[in-house]
Symmetry: C3
Subunit: 165 residues, 3 copies
């Protein structure tokens, strides 16, 4: 039993146990990535809300009201779609980057703060872009926050694995 | 040897072993995620098929036939591209959400059924959107199926990791 | 201690240790995925460079210069955006596919070569598409390289997990 315990404690510090609920960094990643997944999926619903509010539909089979034609360039719909596309461009690579960053066994405090700041920044990005447009540079700052955090994680991982080029 | 065996059986129930081929939930994820990856990549090829069929190319260097100009608003090509974009908006976040959902050690039957239903729903989504357009609400139902499954997984993960906010 | 060592060496060959820095295949994945993440994020900055160079902005709040109106169809900006979208369509599914491919414990040499070739191919794709347009089939070949590698990985994973359908 003591052998099992010592074995298990050894396991905790080995790099093989990063992706478990016993690792607080991974748990923090789980929580905030889930928040961002939900935020991204809500963009689809926000697009749908705008489509029904302004009666702008892109497919023949979506014309739920009489005397409508397909339309593509409504500014209210397109703004939400641009915000959604920006999410895909930035949050999806961040999901992978931050996940593999965990495998380098980073300092727990640093990693958790990065996850929190990056996630909150993207929520602000959505608010100032798609929900209630606000003058620049609010959106640029929110955008740059996650971008720089992702670059930092990339530098950590790349330096650590440079010999496998 | 008996110690090794007991150790190995202990490992199976620890949360550290979720992402191995010994975990049937992970294997089910592997199979159906692979199906969805292939499905998504086929959208690129379907777009190419439409581009050659209707001779619609977006770049100067793609004009493989004489007397063509770049064109962007062909309805046959754009329909496939909208379906493809919808895949990116929904399936890519689902990949991450369902992967991290596995780390919470969910009930194997529930998890596998969710993976299967979500994947089949997205195949149907593609068929009724891009291959053979069908009246609504067929596409909305296929879309909502994966969306609700992803939200369910998000709820499970978020509740489990709420203390790491 | 010798027991611990033998246990640890046993662990290395078990499928549960794929996602650690002790696995050279995973390290190679880490390095090249990081390169691709950075490459993708640079597309955002390249788009921004084009927007400022040609003064093409899609939102009212982005009009940093006087007497400008929002504009959407500038060919220089749209070319970079198409290249960026193509990255999302291909690299993001590849991230997931190659990550889960590692769990099947592939031959290290084969896996590392695939990661390197796929990544370099996409860098070439960006160069010949968005940076300095080059006649076809250069872009098609770069595109097809990662596509075929992803299909190969999909075949390996699907055959290995076919019983979990």
């Amino acid at each position: 039993m003591s052998a099992a315990a010592s074995n298990s404690s050894k396991m905790m510090t080995s790099p093989g146990d990063m992706f478990t609920l016993e690792n607080p960094v991974f748990c923090c990643y789980l929580f905030w990535s889930t928040v961002l997944v939900v935020k991204m999926l809500l963009m689809s619903l926000l697009t749908a809300v705008q489509r029904f509010r302004y009666k702008i539909f892109p497919n023949q089979e979506d014309l739920f009201f009489k005397n409508l034609e397909v339309q593509f360039d409504d500014p209210h719909v397109e703004r939400v779609r641009r915000a959604h596309r920006n999410d895909m461009e930035n949050i999806l690579p961040y999901f992978i980057m931050s996940l593999i960053y965990i495998s380098t066994n980073p300092n727990a405090d640093v990693a958790c703060i990065l996850f929190r700041v990056a996630s909150v920044a993207r929520i602000i990005h959505t608010l100032v872009y798609a929900v209630y447009p606000v003058p620049q540079p609010s959106r640029i700052l929110a955008f740059a926050t996650m971008l720089l955090i992702t670059f930092y994680m990339a530098a950590v991982v790349a330096l650590r694995t440079l010999s496998f080029i």
